[in-house]
């Protein structure tokens, strides 16, 4: 599938009808989502024929992108039932077989490193401090191959240091810097649209000898 085609399909997905600020729900735009998954597939072969998990999937954009690019099994995890309902319908509209699980990522355990790749656009942790790093910590525990994630560019050094030293990542690399358009979704937003710089990261987890339950 071509990049433009992928972006087009993702652009048609339904997004949050009533986003919840406490969960920092911002839609992952089709531009960023398509580039993220396209890079994962075409530069690193981390998507097709793989098990891919989407952490904090919201309306399912990243997971659906993975399914469109040939992932064999996709699981979207989110804490919010309303988002999962939209995600479920988005996948169904495209006739994609995607599993969804309602769960708090911070309490999640996934046995046996069955998941190859985690893709995520975590809450940036502006409202709920540290939640983005909690997501990353769990992602690096459950993935066997790679973790793709978006983090604010202002946190670059911190993310790198924490991933390598505390979460035992084998490597942590910024693939590119992107502009994340945050549309005016919430009342506290004064400007019509804000553009923030985010890094697209690729982390490689350290392989474990024995899988734990």
């Amino acid at each position: 599938m071509k990049l433009k085609q992928l972006e087009g399909l993702l652009g048609n997905l339904d997004q949050f009808s009533a986003p919840k600020i406490e969960l920092e729900q911002y839609p992952t735009g089709p531009h960023i989502a398509s580039r993220m998954l396209y890079t994962a597939e075409n530069s690193f072969e981390d998507v097709s024929d793989k098990v891919v998990a989407d952490f904090g999937c919201g309306c399912g954009t990243l997971g659906i992108a993975a399914a469109l690019l040939g992932a064999d099994h996709v699981i979207g995890f989110d804490v919010d039932a309303d988002s999962l309902e939209i995600a479920y319908l988005n996948a169904e509209d495209l006739e994609l077989d995607v599993n969804f699980v309602q769960s708090d990522i911070r309490n999640l355990q996934c046995r046996g490193k069955i998941i190859d790749t985690v893709v995520m656009n975590p809450p940036f942790g502006t409202r709920n401090k540290g939640v983005d790093m909690d997501f990353l910590s769990v992602a690096l525990k459950v993935a066997s191959q790679a973790v793709y994630s978006l983090h604010k560019t202002t946190t670059r050094e911190y993310v790198k240091k924490t991933a390598l030293r505390e979460y035992n990542a084998k490597s942590a690399e910024v693939l590119c810097e992107l502009r994340y358009d945050v549309p005016k979704l919430y009342k506290f937003h004064k400007k019509k649209e804000v553009d923030i710089a985010v890094d697209l990261w690729r982390f490689v987890p350290t392989p474990t000898v024995e899988s734990d339950v």
């Binding site: 099994h73 077989d97 309602q102 996934c110 046995r111 046996g112 069955i114």
Partner: protein, 123 residues
């Protein structure tokens, strides 16, 4: 929800030492056909906890998987691959519950989505 998802989920309630595997209560099961990818099946085979997988498939009404002596050599058999594929990826738990093996706490499954959220005193 596919049985592949079931094979990796566990109960993480505070105090539970082994929350895997979750027992299945099935109220509605659906089947959705997907193309078979032999390479994918061969790769994932060694990561599957076989006994819980066979039990789960039985609960959902599919009892054609071998229970014992499951060797990787089976993967050369097209017949085995077809059954493995079907049980792993085509049978879905649509309505029902997943039950914590230690506490009996039920995690409801609606529209194929298990609700694994924990209550405050379970974290």
């Amino acid at each position: 929800m596919r049985l592949l998802t079931h094979n990796m989920l566990s109960s993480t309630i505070k105090g539970v030492s082994n929350g895997f595997p979750l027992t299945i209560e099935a109220a509605k099961v659906v089947e959705k056909q997907v193309d078979m990818n032999s390479d994918f099946l061969k790769n994932i085979f060694s990561k599957i906890e076989w006994k819980p997988f066979v039990e789960a498939a039985k609960t959902l009404g599919f009892s054609e998987l071998p229970e014992e002596d499951v060797q990787p050599s089976l993967l050369d058999s097209h017949e085995f691959l077809t059954k493995f594929h079907h049980a792993l990826l085509e049978i879905h738990l649509e309505e029902g519950a997943l039950v914590c093996p230690e506490t009996g706490r039920k995690f409801p499954v609606n529209k194929g989505i298990p609700n694994m959220l924990l209550l405050e005193d379970e974290v």
